[in-house]
C-alpha cells in the first residue's frame, strides 16, 4: 500500500506550470472555432451559383424550344400565376424562420375561399366576403399557432391534422361542387390592371414589402429569427417564445386568406380542390429555393417570392416545352432535393 502522495511522473511538469493553463474557448465547447464566416459564405455562394445555373439553363432551353415563353402576354401570365404561390410562400417564410412548418396553408386557403364565396353568393357584398376569407385564414392559422406554441404540439402533425380537417370541411360544405356566381364587382376590382400591372402582382409586391418590414424592423420579427436560431438561448434572452411562435402561424394563415381572395377572383369561383396536395410542396420548395432554411433562423421574405417565381417558371417552361406533367414533377422534386441538400450543408443542420 502506498502511504504517501506520489506524484505520477508529473512532478516536473507540475512545477513548471503551477497555475491553471487557460484553455481556449474551443476546448470547452467541444467544437472548434468552426462557425467561421468563410465556410458559411461559401455555401451561400454555392446556392446562388446553383440558382443562377439552373435558372439560365431553364431560360436557355425555353429560348431554344419554346420561344413563345418570352411573349409579354405569357410573362404577365407567369407573374399572375406566381403571385398565388408567392403570397403563400411569404406566409410560410414566417413559420419556417421560426423553425416550424405549416402544411395546412393550401387547405386553409381553399376553406377560406369557400366560406367567403358561400357568403357572397347570398350576401352579394364582395368587401365583407373578402374580409371573411382573410379572417377565416387568420383564425385557422391562430388555431395552429396555439396548438404549436402553447400546447407544445409538433408543427408537422398539428398542421397535417388541420389540413385534413379544413379539407374535409370544405368538401362537406361544397359537396365537391365549385361555388360559382360570385358578384361581378368582386372579379372586376381584383382582375383590374392599373398601368397594365395586374392587381395580384401589385398585391404581391406590397405584401413582400410589408413582410420584409415585419421581419426586419419589428421586435417580433427579430425575435422570430432568434427563436429559429436557438430556442433555448431565446428563452434565456427573455423572448416570449409562445406569443412570437403563435404569431408566425397567424401570419401564415393571413397569407392563406389573402391568397384565397385573389385566387377566387381569378377563378371566379371557389372550390375544395383549389388547394390540392401538390401546392404544399410548391410552397416549401419556393421557400427553400429562396434561401429560407428548413432548420429555421435564416431567410428573407423576398427570397420566398423569388423562389416562387423560380418554381413557377420551371413548371410553366416545362409545360410550354411539351414536357409531360409527370416528368415536370420529377424535375421539380430533384431540384428541391438539391436545394435541401445545400441547406443541410450550410451547417445549420443538427
Amino acid at each position: 500500500m502506498i502511504r504517501t502522495w506520489t506524484l505520477l511522473r508529473m512532478n516536473g511538469l507540475l512545477k513548471s506550470h503551477p497555475s491553471a493553463v487557460p484553455l481556449p474557448d474551443a476546448a470547452l465547447d467541444g467544437r472548434g472555432g468552426d462557425v467561421g464566416a468563410p465556410s458559411l459564405s461559401r455555401i451561400v455562394d454555392a446556392r446562388l451559383i446553383a440558382s443562377a445555373l439552373v435558372f439560365s439553363l431553364v431560360l436557355g432551353l425555353l429560348a431554344a424550344f419554346a420561344p413563345s415563353f418570352f411573349r409579354l402576354n405569357n410573362l404577365v401570365n407567369i407573374l399572375v400565376q406566381t403571385s398565388t404561390l408567392a403570397i403563400l410562400a411569404i406566409g410560410m417564410s414566417f413559420v419556417m424562420i421560426g423553425g416550424g412548418i405549416d402544411l395546412s396553408m393550401p387547405a386553409n386557403m381553399a376553406m377560406s375561399a369557400v366560406l367567403g364565396a358561400l357568403y357572397m353568393r347570398v350576401g352579394h357584398d364582395p368587401v365583407t366576403g373578402s374580409a371573411i376569407m382573410i379572417v377565416s385564414g387568420a383564425t385557422i392559422g391562430a388555431l395552429n399557432g396555439v396548438a404549436v406554441a402553447y400546447l407544445r404540439m409538433i408543427p408537422f402533425v398539428v398542421t397535417l391534422a388541420t389540413m385534413t380537417v379544413a379539407k374535409g370541411a370544405c368538401i362537406w360544405l361544397t359537396n365537391s361542387v365549385s361555388i360559382a356566381g360570385l358578384p361581378e364587382s368582386f372579379g372586376d376590382v381584383l382582375l383590374a390592371r392599373p398601368l397594365g400591372i395586374p392587381v395580384a402582382v401589385l398585391a404581391t409586391i406590397a405584401l413582400t414589402l410589408l413582410a420584409s418590414t415585419a421581419l426586419s424592423f419589428t421586435v417580433i420579427g427579430r425575435w422570430l429569427y432568434a427563436i429559429g436560431v436557438n430556442e433555448r438561448a431565446a428563452r434565456v434572452a427573455r423572448v416570449p417564445i409562445e406569443r412570437v411562435t403563435a404569431m408566425s402561424y397567424v401570419a401564415a394563415g393571413l397569407s392563406a386568406g389573402v391568397t384565397a381572395v385573389l385566387l377566387a377572383a381569378r377563378l371566379d369561383s371557389a372550390s375544395a380542390n383549389m388547394g390540392n396536395d401538390g401546392v404544399v410542396l410548391d410552397i416549401v420548395s419556393a421557400c427553400v429555393v429562396g434561401g429560407i432554411s428548413i432548420y429555421g433562423g435564416i431567410g428573407r421574405a423576398y427570397g420566398a417570392v423569388l423562389g416562387a417565381l423560380f418554381i413557377t417558371i420551371v413548371s410553366n417552361g416545362l409545360n410550354l416545352m411539351g414536357v409531360s406533367f409527370y416528368l415536370s414533377l420529377i424535375v421539380k422534386g430533384i431540384v428541391i432535393i438539391g436545394y435541401v441538400a445545400l441547406d443541410g450543408l450550410s451547417g445549420k443542420a443538427p
Binding site: T4, T6, L8, L13, P18, F217, A237, R238
Partner: protein, 509 residues
C-alpha cells in the same frame, strides 16, 4: 495487494483542434480495488475515460491491461478487452424493456431470430448478481433513476468485465439507491474487478474507494491511497494553488453579515425535487455574492430555478420595487435579471446572428417608434454605446457573433444584459474558456457594475476568479446553502468549506 497495477495508462495525450485536453496523463488501477478519479470541470477525466472506453482516440501514450499493451479504438474493442463503461444514466433506450436494454449491443439470436427467453434468463441472472429483482419485461422509461442505473450496470457486467468505469453514478440517486450501488461496487471488488469511480462528491470516495487519482488541466497531478489523505487534500489538488489573488474593486468586509445595502432579492425555502433543498438567500444592492460549490452541487440549477428556466416545487421570492419587497414568481423575475449562462454557445448566443441583434434582443421593445417599428438610429446608438463601453473588438455591429473570439463573445452576452439596465445579474462561469486578459476584463466589468449599485450573484469553478470579485460567499453543496462566509475568507477556508461535507458519516462505517 497486487504489486503490479492491473490497468496502467501511461503518458496519454489528446488534443482537440487547437487545444491539448490530455497532457501525458497517467492512471493505475488494481484488481479488487476502487479508484476514485477526481478533477474539477475540464480537468480531462472524462476524456481520459473516453479513451479507456474506446470512445475517443489518444494521440500518444500506452494502455496496459494485466501487463499486456492493448489497443482500444472503439467501444467494441474496449469491451473485448474487458473494459465496461457505466455511463452517467440515460444511455438507455427508454421505450425498450430491461432485458432488451441489457442486450442492446448484442441481441442473442437463435436460427436468425431473436431469442427472448435467453435474453430474459440472462438478464434475470445478471440482476440477481446485483441484488435486484427487477422484472425484465418492464420498459425502462417506467423505472426510477436508481433502477435505471442498475440496468446500466447489468449491461456493463454482461461481458464479465475486468475494468468497470462508473461516471458520476450517484448524481441522481436517492440515499437508499446509493447504499445499494455501494453494495454492488463492493460485490464487484470481491469478484476482483478493477473499478474506476468518477464523482464530484468527495465524501463518496472515502466510503467506497481504496485509492484516489486527481487530475487538473489535462494532467494527472497525484495518486494515493484514500486512508492517507483528507478531503481537504483532495480539494486542494483539484483546484490547484490559489496564491497572488489580486482583488478588483473594494476590500471585502470581515464578516458574513448580509445587512449592508437594501435588499434586492430575498428567497425563502426554495426547493426543486432532487436538485435544490430549502434554499434561503438575500441579495443586497452593490454587492457581488460568490456562489461557491463544486460541480454538481446545484449552482447552475439554483440560478436557473430563480428565474423560472426550471420549475420549482416550493419557495417564495421577494423582489424590491420602489423600496418595497413584493412577492414575485420566478418567471416574472426573469424580466428583471440578466443571466450570463455557463454554456455560452449553447444557450447564451445566437451564433449566426449579428453582434447587433445579439446585444439588442431583450432591449428591442424600448427601441421602437409609434408604429412599433425598430428605429435604426436608436438601435445603432445602443449597440455602438455598448460596444464602446465593453470594448468589443470586431469588424462591426453586423459581424456574426460566432466569428468573434471567446472573450468578445462573452462581452456581447454581458453587453446584452447591461443594455437592459438591470439591478441584478447572474453570472454563471463568466470567465470559462477565456484567456487571462479577457478574464480580467470581464471581472472588471462586473465590479464596475456593482460599484454603480448593481447586484451580482456569481458562480465560478475558478476559485481565483471568484475571490477576485466576491464581497461574500454562499457555499452550496447537494442543493443546499451550507455556509455563508465573509469576503475576507481565505482560499484554504473556501476549499475546506466544500470538502467538509457533514454527510460523510452517512457512508462511512
Amino acid at each position: 495487494m497486487t504489486a503490479e497495477p492491473f490497468l496502467r495508462m501511461d503518458g496519454v495525450s489528446k488534443r482537440y483542434p487547437g487545444v491539448v485536453v490530455l497532457h501525458e496523463a497517467s492512471l493505475e488501477a488494481y484488481r479488487g480495488e476502487a479508484m476514485a478519479l477526481m478533477g474539477a470541470n475540464g480537468a480531462g477525466k472524462s476524456t481520459l475515460m473516453n479513451v479507456l472506453g474506446g470512445l475517443a482516440t489518444k494521440e500518444s501514450g500506452a494502455i496496459f491491461i494485466d501487463g499486456q499493451p492493448v489497443s482500444l479504438r472503439s467501444p467494441r474493442e474496449a469491451a473485448a478487452n474487458g473494459v465496461a463503461f457505466v455511463h452517467q444514466e440515460l444511455s438507455l433506450l427508454p421505450t425498450m424493456t430491461v432485458a432488451e436494454n441489457v442486450h442492446a449491443d448484442e441481441f442473442p439470436v437463435r436460427g436468425g431470430l431473436l431469442a427472448p427467453e435467453i435474453m430474459r434468463r440472462r438478464t434475470t441472472e445478471l440482476l440477481a448478481r446485483l441484488g435486484s429483482k427487477l422484472p425484465t419485461d418492464i420498459r425502462v422509461e417506467n423505472l426510477s433513476a436508481g433502477d435505471r442505473q442498475i440496468v446500466e450496470i447489468a449491461r456493463a457486467l454482461r461481458r464479465r468485465p475486468r475494468v468497470v468505469i462508473f461516471d458520476e453514478p450517484t448524481s441522481s440517486l436517492t440515499a437508499w439507491e446509493k447504499t445499494r450501488l455501494f453494495e454492488v461496487i463492493a460485490g464487484l471488488k470481491r469478484d476482483r474487478a478493477a473499478i474506476i469511480y468518477i464523482t464530484h462528491f468527495i465524501d463518496e470516495i472515502f466510503a467506497t474507494c481504496e485509492r484516489v487519482t486527481v487530475m487538473r488541466n489535462g494532467r494527472t497531478v497525484a495518486s494515493a491511497a484514500t486512508d492517507t489523505v483528507t478531503s481537504r487534500d483532495v480539494v486542494h489538488l483539484m483546484l490547484g494553488e490559489t496564491d497572488n489573488i489580486v482583488r478588483l474593486g473594494k476590500t471585502p468586509a470581515g464578516d458574513a453579515a448580509d445587512d449592508g445595502g437594501d435588499v434586492v432579492l430575498q428567497v425563502k425555502d426554495l426547493s426543486r425535487a432532487n436538485v435544490l433543498k430549502n434554499v434561503d438567500l438575500t441579495l443586497r444592492t452593490g454587492e457581488i455574492v460568490g456562489l461557491w460549490g463544486l460541480l454538481g452541487s446545484g449552482r447552475t440549477e439554483l440560478l436557473r430555478a430563480l428565474i423560472g428556466l426550471d420549475a420549482i416545487d416550493q419557495g417564495e421570492l421577494c423582489w424590491s420595487r420602489n423600496g418595497e419587497l413584493l412577492s414575485i414568481t420566478p418567471r416574472e423575475l426573469r424580466r428583471f435579471v440578466g443571466f450570463v449562462t455557463e454554456d455560452r454557445r449553447g444557450d447564451g448566443l445566437f451564433l449566426p446572428l449579428s453582434v447587433e441583434t445579439n446585444i439588442a434582443l431583450p432591449s428591442l421593445p424600448a427601441l421602437t417608434n409609434w408604429l412599433r417599428l425598430i428605429v435604426g438610429k436608436k438601435l445603432a446608438r445602443l449597440v455602438h454605446g455598448m460596444m464602446e463601453r465593453l470594448r468589443i473588438k470586431g469588424s462591426g455591429p453586423k459581424q456574426p457573433v460566432g466569428t468573434l473570439s471567446g472573450g468578445n463573445q462573452q462581452k456581447v452576452v454581458l453587453a446584452r444584459w447591461l443594455a437592459t439596465n438591470p439591478r441584478l445579474l447572474f453570472l454563471d462561469e463568466p470567465t470559462r474558456g477565456l484567456d487571462v486578459s479577457a478574464k480580467t476584463e470581464i471581472l472588471k466589468l462586473a465590479v464596475e457594475f456593482a460599484l454603480a449599485g448593481g447586484t451580482i450573484l456569481i458562480v465560478s469553478s475558478a476559485l481565483e476568479d471568484l475571490m477576485r470579485v466576491s464581497d461574500r460567499y454562499l457555499v452550496i453543496s447537494r442543493g443546499s446553502i451550507v455556509a455563508k462566509l465573509p469576503g475576507a475568507t481565505t482560499a484554504d477556508e473556501l476549499k475546506h468549506a466544500v470538502s467538509d461535507d457533514s454527510s460523510r458519516s452517512e457512508f462511512r462505517p
